[in-house]
Symmetry: C2
Subunit: 191 residues, 2 copies
DNA sequence: CTATGAAGTGGAGGTTCCTCCGCTACCACT
DNA sequence: AGTGGTAGCGGAGGAACCTCCACTTCATAG
């Protein structure tokens, strides 16, 4: 399957898509994560049907709206690795991850969809996240401080789980403990 | 606060509550977890308002409907501990837990509410689950195979996270890896 | 037995979600 | 530059959620 179904999107369609995305970014940041999709469509000047055509679920829209910031989160891996040892960097990044997901409330559920997506729809973000984790783990493996039989995708699932289970701001302490536990599981010697 | 707010519930109210619960159990088992609450209320012969009075959220109703079975799951701990060593028993129970939650689709979300409830509402099930985990961990600690600084409530959060993140039947493999990881984190030596 | 007010009821209706399909307008080809 | 086929549009409307409050019923004190 070469470049699976990458039809270039008609001009008016692309324009509408962009307008919806703009409206969504604005709406999420001013009205919180529970804005109605209807209102986003309206403020984008398109019908609700058009919104659903481009973003079939709320999660898809949220994911698209935050894709840039998510990318920044992934990029921060390099900085962390350059200022601290791999295990510490990994643990620190986990904190960033949870903080980020917790702040952008409504992202947590989108995240679940991102993680579950074996297929196309969110794969960009998914791949980036897996890549970031992979980099962190590899650094640890190279140094001998992290076991080498761990699939980064699984770790992503784990982080997602922590966020889903203890993502409310009031449960940050719980989330911390879980991250510690996860980290312990990743360290060499537990193998 | 002695027996916080335990007013005995008026006779007709109790009757209605039971009828709703009956209807819910029946509805969940025949129509799946997505039955509308409206239809449950109707088949119980009460107004939707009454249903909401007794079970303010869908999760509350699900939890109540499955409370018995959940108790059985907790009771199974004793059997497991009598037929295998603590670490294996704990791991085996984790599997049962995930299987159970996965089967009763719709339970997963209720679970989240159960776990988050520091307060009253679901505390019965919550306490039972924490108790079950506590028993398992204690057995391991006594034997020296499990670290002793782990709060069972955190482990419950972790299980909840695994279920939420990888609870779809198709992701059972992922769930397994996560449980292994969690288990590794709990074992003595990772401390 | 009655009166009283607290506890409980029910369902209409506002809100949001999401689907569906007749219509519009884009664009590739001549 | 006309035109046919089709990608894309929009919004009406059905389904479910959940709130709210005027009304009913219970149970207790007198």
């Amino acid at each position: 399957m070469p470049g699976t179904s990458e039809r270039p999107l008609r001009a008016d369609a692309r324009r509408n898509r962009d307008r919806v995305l703009d409206a969504a970014v604005r709406a999420f940041s001013t009205d919180g994560p529970d804005v109605t999709l209807d209102s986003i469509a309206k403020s984008a000047g398109v019908g609700i049907g058009t919104l659903y055509r481009h973003f079939p679920t709320r999660e898809a829209l949220v994911e698209a709206a935050y894709r840039n910031e998510l990318a920044k989160l992934c990029d921060s891996v390099a900085d962390l690795l350059s200022t601290m040892p791999p295990v510490a960097a990994t643990r620190a990044w986990m904190d960033l991850f949870v903080d980020y997901m917790t702040t952008k409330r409504g992202m947590a559920n989108a995240l679940k969809a991102v993680i579950a997506s074996g297929g196309n729809p969110f794969s960009e973000s998914r791949d980036r996240l897996v890549g970031a984790i992979s980099t962190l783990l590899d650094a640890g493996v190279a140094e001998g401080s992290v076991r080498k039989d761990v699939d980064p995708a699984i770790v992503l699932s784990g982080l997602s789980g922590v966020t889903l289970a203890a993502g409310e701001p009031g449960q940050r302490e719980n989330a911390n403990c879980l991250l510690d536990l996860l980290m312990d599981g990743l360290r060499y010697g537990a193998d």
